[in-house]
């Protein structure tokens, strides 16, 4: 493939990703604003509360079950006009940057929070991605050293991938409660500033990314090392380090790069959960707490831009560095 061809392919790739972004943005804005089309002709009638069987003893157990009759009645219909107004209103807001949300406490400006959250989330994401990729590659490279190294690498990847992020956070909270009640100190406060500090999200997100990277590297090497050309190279007496680095790792790299967008997708999902559960005021927390359609749509657009940038960069790298392996990249 000539350099001109490569450049053309990369330009086509970026154009396609941009078109996908427009499509995703259109669908996201259209779906998120659907509830704005609901027009209530009568206020919802609340469901009759459960009263249970009459009992004189409050210590007597009782059965909790839904009341079968009298489901909540909503007299409502969906209309296009208010829906369209909400969509166009959001598009105007997006251009002016005056995004707000209506809460019980009143109306609040969300845009400054999104800007702060964006910086924090991006910093967390990039730091943990860098740390995770580095750690994951090192652990994955262990699989090249010896049988024990491969076992350690495999075990790390398997444990890191199998234990969900939310479970690690819950364990972290329980450990914090335990250390505080038994020893008088909070576990997370040792390195950071309490449960809202940088340590819990950093640890959880780094472990996930590192495990994914190690898994990708180990699996790719596992498959490549069984190929005929590796056997041939060894039979010809090529030194082992050249077999591993020159033949195996070089051919395993595209497979690793193939998995990076999926890893980034998983990292973004994890980021939201981790931010929410560790009370980190990033985009994930804002997404969950200020649930106005404008906020939700804006954060979705930001996440899509991040993902498509990462996806395009990874695929461009594959195309430019390893042009012989371009199948399906663009």
């Amino acid at each position: 493939m000539t350099p001109m061809h490569q450049v053309r392919t990369v330009v086509r790739l970026w154009t396609r990703r941009f078109a996908w972004f427009l499509g995703v943005a259109f669908i996201a804005i259209a779906v998120i604003h659907l509830p704005h089309g609901i027009v209530r002709s009568a206020e919802p009638i609340p469901a009759p509360a459960y009263v249970g069987p009459p009992r004189s003893d409050p210590t007597e157990p009782f059965l909790i079950e839904p009341v079968s009759a009298g489901q909540p009645v909503y007299q409502a219909k969906w209309a296009f006009q208010p829906y369209w107004q909400a969509v166009t209103g959001y598009l105007k807001v997006l251009l002016t940057g005056q995004l707000d949300a209506h809460l019980r406490q009143g109306r609040i400006e969300v845009w400054p929070m999104i800007q702060k959250g964006l910086a924090l989330s991006l910093r967390t994401l990039l730091t943990t991605l860098a740390a995770g990729l580095l750690l994951g590659t090192l652990v994955g490279a262990l699989s090249l050293t010896s049988r024990l190294g491969r076992s350690i690498s495999f075990l790390f990847a398997l444990c890191g991938l199998s234990v969900p992020d939310f479970l690690l956070i819950i364990f972290g909270h329980i450990m914090t409660i335990w250390t505080y009640s038994h020893f008088g100190f909070r576990l997370w406060s040792i390195f950071g500033d309490g449960e809202r500090g940088w340590l819990p999200p950093f640890l959880v997100l780094t472990i996930g990314t590192a495990a994914y990277t190690a898994r990708l590297t180990t699996a790719a090497m596992d498959e490549v090392l069984r190929e005929d050309y590796i056997r041939t190279a060894r039979a010809k007496g090529v030194p082992e380090h050249r077999v591993l680095l020159g033949h195996a790792l070089r051919n395993a790299l595209p497979r690793v790069l193939n998995g990076v967008p999926a890893m980034f997708n998983a990292s973004l999902s994890s980021l939201i959960i981790v931010e929410l559960m560790t009370l980190t005021p990033g985009l994930g927390s804002i997404f969950a707490r200020y649930t106005s359609s404008g906020t939700t749509a804006t954060i979705v657009l930001i996440y899509s831009v991040w993902f498509l940038l990462m996806d395009s960069l990874t695929n461009s790298l594959r195309l430019l560095v390893l042009p012989q392996r371009t199948g399906g990249a663009a």
Binding site: A28, L34, V51, D222, A266, I272, M277, T296, F307
Partner: protein, 295 residues
Amino acid sequence: MNWPLALALLLLLGLVVLLLLPFVMAVPDPHMGVLVIMDGAKLRVPGYKPGEFGYLFGSDLVGRDIFGRIVYGARFTLGMALAVNLVRGLLAIPLGLFAGWKRGWLGRVVQALATGVGSIPTLIMVTICLAGLRPLILGDVAWLIVYGLVVVVAGIPRMAEHVRRRTEEVALLPHIEAAESLGATSGRLIWRHIFPVMVPDMLVMMATEMAWVLLMMAQLAIFGIYVGGTVPVIREGYPPRYVEWAAEWGQMLGANRWGFRASPWMGLYPGLALGLSAMAFHLLAEGLRLRGLRR
């Protein structure tokens, strides 16, 4: 020794035991609550910690036994995840097979859909769909169906793309060329010659997807999106307390998501159940993959 497969089978055996437990021993009713319990001269209100008053895993805020809810919840949660996975597989596998075999526009559509859907984190995509649709859907049954459908649809493009890629690889094998030259039809080639070669791969994919569905259900629950509704429980002299009703792990985790610090056991056990189940299917996928490689 295939350790991941052995460990996965052990964990899956645990899940089977959990499913069968109500048939072999008395498990506390998952819907039986209590307002107060006498502790000597004191009146204690729920939630009770694990081990207190005979509650093995503790109780929730209206005195329901969490162990009982975990045991009965296994049917709902695992059944739901299995149903979602089966429907996904039934739709995505034929689509991927045909797209991989025919190539052309169908292949490009599947590829574009996978990248397009993959361009938003799955969690966000499912959340916006469900959050956008929630106010339009009335009734718990309708909500259950929509929830299932959205989770099904979210995974189809990725699965179909995986199958398409694998089909393209398998279609290059010599026995396919031989069968084609003997005049086999497309349908026969796909179902009799391509699909059987892909079965081990499909098993790995289905096990992985099962794990992802369980994790997705847990993550959605943390966002407050779960199946089932709430019921108000009246307490004398207090405002009604709205509690989740159905014993479903995601719902139990989601309903107690704000109380992880005050009463961590309420979210820990359903989270652990979901996490261990997902882990079992992850390990199963890994074990099957290793088994395939060794063969």
